[in-house]
Subunit: 319 residues, 2 copies
């Protein structure tokens, strides 16, 4: 392999270290992820890293403006919930304020709209009560959420910027690598393809009086390359492909598999992402669809995705 | 005045109509805002439009990527609360998912962490109870929130994109204009200075395989210009200026006042925005500061800003 190629694992790792400042929280996050992996590995539990939400790419060092990616985090948060149900231990690497497992069901509500004041009798203080009609299935969901917390099966790790995401992903890969094929990477986050290197960034807010804005953005190093080859070479790795043009979708997914040599790509088109994905592996390609009837009774496409991929993972481990 | 200037009110209005598609919700929002203004105007209540949060600027028509502005909405949401306390009726034009009056105090909490399951006795269903230790002052805040809702003093209107913001601001100005000097505009939203016109936008997701990204962004029309001159010429208008470089702050604020001929600019520097602002009017300039001691006992800088500006507004009305 020509290691001077822009995507070579060595070059990506070195660009990560030189062009993206290491965020303060990485060391501590690494320690927590490594402890989590060790504990659950010792109990023979499979461990998955689910990434979720978009990345923020600053355009100025004192950041006022940034480039962002569309992603509410639905795919990641829903899948994390289902992997927990399938008895995985889950590291949830998610964008600050994107959707969170379990909580996602109530994300549209504000907390003051679901609490009610009940006037006390006589001199009694007023009481605060939840409005259960605004919180469907709350008992069941609280049960599941509290049980997951109590058993320590979910480790949330937050990021906001692209830099944070890249360094935390590397730390996660190194934390999970000792688990070999029992570790899974489910890279559902919508990561920016472009960024402005710190050295080329204006220090202060770009002035609008200077006229139209010309931005020249560099391509983000292809982190999948060292992740698959160097950081967690035995793990089961799933990447995601989101396009708006359906005609190029499967080709791009296949190309990614050839380039990075990982296990699977979940490919989807923006407009139909809630009802249809194509999962591409080296020797298979399957469409998973949610029918209108299934959607109507509250089923989510992620159930099919997680079912399918955990079978793939079990097969991978057994080999 | 030379009406061919890029910032002339006529040119801004015409660019708004031709380059920014009118969002579907504007007509309905206009009707709700006009009704709200009419009702509160008839009760001799002052009405304020508070804008809050950043704007989203799409880079693609099927949007995956967008440019965003840093803004959690703290200034807007906190000020809206205080203007309500000062007996204004408030139209709150805010970015989807940015902070909201009252609710902002609990924004860092997730709803499942503040509810507890209490097992029922015997065959009783488990009960859901709020964890009041996680909700400081909840009784007082619920009281205020419910009272504001009940009296209909707060009209929330949501936006996400720059286009939505611009058209909704115009609609708000037209809805408030009949109130003359009793109407106030408090434009705290962090609005993008740059955008890509729909006609120059790629239809599909920009491919990273095409190499580095060159973006050429046009300047957003200066909406303050027609707002002050044509849409609500008698109102009290306050704009905001956020810089990262303190040395240019007051100059820029003065320049804005000269250019748009409105009443006040609240100027602040990113790093110190929670503890210090400068309010600049045509014939005054005042620094408002929050001391460490004031901050420690829970005071917020917005109390000083709102106090000062409502005095200015009262004086303006009386003239």
């Amino acid at each position: 392999m020509d290691h001077n190629l822009p995507g070579s694992p060595e070059l990506v790792t070195s660009r990560l270290e030189t062009e993206f400042a290491v965020p303060a929280q990485v060391e501590d996050a690494y320690r927590r992820m490594a402890d989590f992996a060790r504990l659950h590995g010792s109990q023979n539990r499979r461990v998955i890293l689910v990434t979720s939400g978009g990345t923020k790419v600053p355009l100025e060092s004192h950041t006022v403006r940034f480039l962002d990616n569309f992603s509410s985090g639905t795919r990641g948060a829903t899948s994390a919930e289902l992997f927990l149900q399938a008895d995985y231990a889950v590291i949830f690497l998610y964008r600050h304020r994107s959707l969170f497992p379990f909580v996602r069901r109530f994300a549209a509500l504000n907390i003051l709209d679901v609490l009610r004041l009940k006037e006390g009798v006589g001199l009694e203080e007023p009481r605060v009560e939840p409005d259960l009609t605004a919180l469907p299935n709350i008992v069941e969901i609280l049960h599941r959420y509290e049980s997951v917390k109590q058993k320590g099966l979910l480790l949330p790790v937050e990021f906001s910027t692209l830099s944070e995401y890249l360094h935390l992903l590397k730390a996660a890969a190194q934390a999970l690598s000792p688990l070999g094929s029992s570790a899974m990477f489910y890279l559902a986050a919508a990561v920016s393809d472009f960024y402005i290197p710190a050295s080329e960034m204006p220090q202060h807010k770009i002035q609008s009086s200077s006229g139209p804005l010309q931005l020249s953005m560099k391509m983000v190093p292809k982190i999948l390359s060292p992740l698959v080859k160097d950081w967690a070479p035995k793990a089961y790795v799933i990447s995601f492909k989101l396009e708006t043009d359906p005609s190029i979708l499967v080709d791009r997914a296949r190309k990614a598999l050839e380039t990075y040599n990982h296990q699977a790509v979940v490919a989807n088109v923006l407009d139909t992402r809630r009802s249809c994905v194509t999962i591409v592996t080296r020797d298979s390609q399957i469409d998973l669809r949610l029918s209108d009837e299934e959607a109507a009774r509250g089923m989510e496409l992620e159930e099919k995705i997680v079912n399918y991929l955990q079978d793939c993972h079990a097969h991978f481990i057994s080999q």
